[in-house]
């Protein structure tokens, strides 16, 4: 029968070292229980006649991915009255999913072109949940679309969305007609 006193404790251990002796005994018992458990687990899973075979190497390459969807692919400004500020017929909901650590979605507008001339992109205004609440000529929170504008930022996420509102400012110089242009969305992501 095994007894704790059988353990080969060094003679240099004195009375003050009792605590250490206790720890060594505990560690030994813990290791014994752990190894017994590992052996038992293997036996339970595979039985006595199990033998190691070949190994298959597995590699998974996850590419950076960002998925941007728009709730509509066209908006219209119906400017039927005197020159002024007109709302788009729809808000645009931008939904982004990405596995990247950090990402930013931006957009920029081209000038609107028609038979009557051009309406510069500075007269298209956009409001996002994050634009400052100041008025630059089209109402609080609306910023002119001169250059790129940040739409949404985030980190790895299944779904994040923002609602974008658009306005157009017309003048007496804008000839009657239909003007068309594009709002282009781009993204920047880092793993």
């Amino acid at each position: 029968m095994w007894d704790k006193s059988d353990l080969p404790i060094s003679p240099i251990l004195k009375k003050g070292d009792k605590e250490m002796k206790k720890n060594i005994v505990s560690l030994f018992l813990f290791s014994l229980i752990l190894s017994t458990n590992i052996i038992l687990t293997n036996k339970l899973v595979y039985g006595d006649n199990a033998h190691p075979g070949p190994t298959l190497q597995v590699t998974a390459i996850i590419e950076p991915c960002i998925n941007i969807t728009l709730s509509t692919d066209a908006i219209v400004f119906n400017c039927k009255g005197a020159p002024g500020i007109y709302n788009a017929d729809h808000n645009v909901i931008v939904t982004v999913g990405s596995n990247c650590g950090n990402w930013t979605v931006k957009c920029s507008a081209t000038p609107l072109k028609g038979d009557g001339g051009t309406i510069s992109s500075e007269r298209i205004f956009m409001k996002t949940p994050d634009t400052p609440n100041r008025d630059t000529g089209a109402g609080a929170g609306f910023e002119p679309m001169s250059g790129e504008k940040v739409v949404l930022t985030g980190s790895s996420t299944e779904r994040k969305e923002a609602t974008l509102e658009f306005k157009l400012k017309t003048t007496w110089e804008d000839k009657a007609g239909t003007y068309t242009g594009q709002i282009n969305y781009t993204y920047l992501a880092s793993p």
Partner: protein
């Protein structure tokens, strides 16, 4: 004596679009055995790990399909695919004589999520055989 050959001996998944399921190459298991009865099991040794970081893809998102998986069951990766969360039987047979036989063909599938950070993850699937002389 038993000889087991995996062909190929490594597989890779290339998740190049939105999260979902991605297949690797199929793996043929070829066996030559002098034993009367034998069976082969496989298990993922550890989660797929992104080198140099704490990111892991857990066992449960790697799936296997082979002649011994239930063709009806669907655990999120399609019918017949069972997770590698536990050891799986992949082949069994008897004495083969001097000629090796194709004992099984294994298909592997990975389920990715938006939370899996871009990068290369690696792991190992260990095969174990049981014999009965």
């Amino acid at each position: 004596m038993i000889s087991i050959i995996l062909s190929p001996d490594s597989i890779s998944f290339h998740a190049d679009s939105s999260p979902g399921t991605f297949d690797s190459q199929a793996v043929d298991v070829t066996v030559r055995s002098d034993y009367k009865d034998w069976s082969i099991h496989c298990e993922l040794i550890s989660p797929l790990t992104f080198s140099g970081s704490k990111n892991k893809i857990p066992f449960e998102r790697l799936f296997i399909n082979n002649p011994y998986t239930n063709p009806v069951i669907d655990k999120g990766a399609g019918p017949g695919y069972e997770s590698m969360g536990q050891p799986r039987l992949v082949a069994k047979g008897s004495f083969t004589g001097p000629v090796a036989i194709k004992a099984s063909s294994l298909k592997f599938r990975l389920l990715t999520t938006w939370e899996d950070k871009p990068g290369t993850y690696v792991g190992q699937i260990r095969f174990t055989y049981l014999t009965n002389p």
